[in-house]
Symmetry: C2
């Protein structure tokens, strides 16, 4: 199948709808993305699935139909209105501009363009309007750690004005892709039934290969995510700071973050302390968050109700609990939040941005069949 030129713009009922390309369709995030495209209200005409050369020709199911995977090349973007990228940053850095040059709006979930001043960084529940101004034709989404907490923070900020943020993360291995999940599963198999984790060095000996991580991840926590960025910081921690500032439109927001990998398959968590310009109450925070799109409040600790990854995995919203006012600061609010790093933390946010663009195309440049 040659994707260029005269392809039909979707089947019956889809005529006139925008054409979508999904780049990275076979990866961990791509797989979730196809699931979301199949579950959500369908706004798309043709959907083209794109991946690396070695996956070309495979057939994947999206919207209940088998679709053949195309090899990544410039002409797959011809006639595409929107291209969603679920690929590593170095791939997006080249191919998102290529998609734009063929006429598509590129939506990128990688780190490649997040801090580019000519690329809006968008979380639809927080700053949807920012997606409309895209000098490079590219819209980016934040990293999964920022996305875990930013929807809840955005709602609270709208009420009270955020001035300081302190975050400690509990990050799942699926954010490192298949090798992260495989490494944890293999290490769990190695430690199951042993006494590992009780004597110095025994865990390293038992798990052997640490895969993509600098230390064992089974029965351990690893205070290092991303890569080293100098002055003691990691790229992931600087990303949380820079992206929170950009999404919230607060370029001088004070942010401190410690990013820690934990032996959880999917769903990031964060312990958040937020300080606002105004006094807060836990009751009002409940009210704000209960009414915020993309947030579920799960907060009755006396009854054992608070979010954990086991509850949030596979779901779309941010689950917020353990909400309380700081004991020593009437402007301080603390909470714990869990969000599926493959859904809202990656695929879902990308799809939502794609849908914003689709709506804009429908409004602004109606396409007739």
């Amino acid at each position: 199948m040659n994707p260029a030129g005269g392809l039909p713009r979707g089947g019956t009922g889809r005529a006139g709808r925008p054409t979508l390309a999904v780049v990275g369709a076979t990866g961990v995030v791509g797989t979730v993305l196809l699931g979301l495209l199949s579950e959500r209200a369908d706004v798309w005409g043709e959907i083209r699935l794109v991946a690396s050369e070695r996956s070309a020709g495979r057939k994947l199911t999206v919207r209940g139909e088998q679709v053949e995977v195309l090899a990544l090349a410039e002409d797959v973007f011809d006639g595409a209105d929107v291209a969603l990228f679920a690929v590593p940053g170095e791939v997006a850095a080249h191919w998102a501009p290529a998609a734009v040059s063929r006429g598509a709006v590129a939506v990128d979930g990688s780190a490649a363009f997040r801090m580019d001043p000519d690329v809006p960084l968008v979380v639809p529940e927080v700053n949807a309007r920012a997606a409309r101004v895209r000098p490079r034709g590219i819209v980016a989404g934040p990293c999964c750690t920022t996305l875990t907490m930013i929807v809840a923070l955005g709602a609270l900020h709208a009420e009270w004005c955020l001035e300081e943020l302190s975050v400690a993360s509990y990050q799942a291995v699926s954010a490192s892709g298949r090798c992260g999940v495989d490494t944890l599963r293999e290490q769990l198999a190695a430690v199951a039934g042993t006494e590992a984790g009780t004597q110095p060095g025994d865990l390293r000996r038992t798990v052997g290969d640490t895969g993509p991580y600098p230390a064992p991840i089974a029965l351990n926590v690893v205070p290092f995510a991303g890569s080293f960025a100098g002055d003691g910081w990691t790229t992931e921690e600087l990303a949380v700071r820079g992206e929170s500032r950009k999404v919230l439109g607060l370029p001088r927001l004070r942010v401190s973050a410690t990013c820690v990998r934990v032996p959880v398959v999917t769903t990031h968590s964060a312990a958040v302390r937020a300080r606002f310009e105004n006094e807060v109450t836990a009751e009002k925070a409940h009210e704000i968050l209960a009414g915020a799109p993309g947030v579920v409040v799960c907060d009755d600790p006396a009854a054992g109700e608070f979010p954990t990854p086991a509850d949030a995995v596979g779901t779309d919203p941010a689950w917020v609990g353990r909400i309380r006012r700081s004991l020593d600061d009437p402007q301080g609010l603390e909470f714990f939040v869990c969000g599926d790093n493959l859904r809202k933390g990656a695929a879902l946010n990308t799809v939502q941005i794609g849908e914003l663009i689709a709506a804009e195309l429908r409004e602004g440049r109606p396409r007739l069949p």
Copy 2:
């Protein structure tokens, strides 16, 4: 063996040294405590091992000798100079005063007396002198979460004066006793080789019984430790606040804490943000911590060096790494710290306090053979 009355005060070479009773000798912390008594410079005369009725008569090894376990009763304290308690708070609440009434100084690792204004709360590296003033004859040690970070914080505070503390913990299951460890091991066996942790609810179904925890602990993190204390807080979080204030002698210190249980067997970790009255630098923090007793600096993230529970387990010091100055606050310092919750977090601190008392007894009331 009748422990009361005319027991010999230890064998040859131990004459004149204080007599020690260890209450809770058969528990998880008690086991570590006996190991420490066997490893450390021996300051004790007779050591009596005490546990509940059902463990009486068992023989345990301490200092290379087999010692029969005595059933907890008032007369086990007759002639004891120091009694170390490694038992639940409700047991200590009754038996520590009983030991005092028989003439011993009681050192309690439980929560029973920590916030009693007539009981000093002691971390020997930080406030050893406080152990000398004990109106009730009891000295308490903080909870394992406070102990994870307080030695490093104490050293930094001595230089810069702490004014605000924000902590997120990563707490190991052995702090819940044998049932915590057994629960994690059983859940790990249940999830090993499965796909659990990827779909809503599948983890709860796979692990079944959650043991002492309100949610699965394998492949999960649980933002709840201790019990519910009202206003959204847990007892563990309030303990971190109250104990940090008391040990550091800062009754108005601003503290926020979120305590989270993670699937680690032994060794608590904490992501700490500390704000001081004075400006800080990471270099000076390294220098202070490298010279602080009870602290090991492990901090070269560019070379993959930072502390994890797998490295710190089974060792005595607090392992500190990821040390950096806050990007948006020259008075803010952030670091990650790991400490064995059974050693410094429990048994070691108790033993160290016991040794302080032993030294005081040697100085103040010399006992001749």
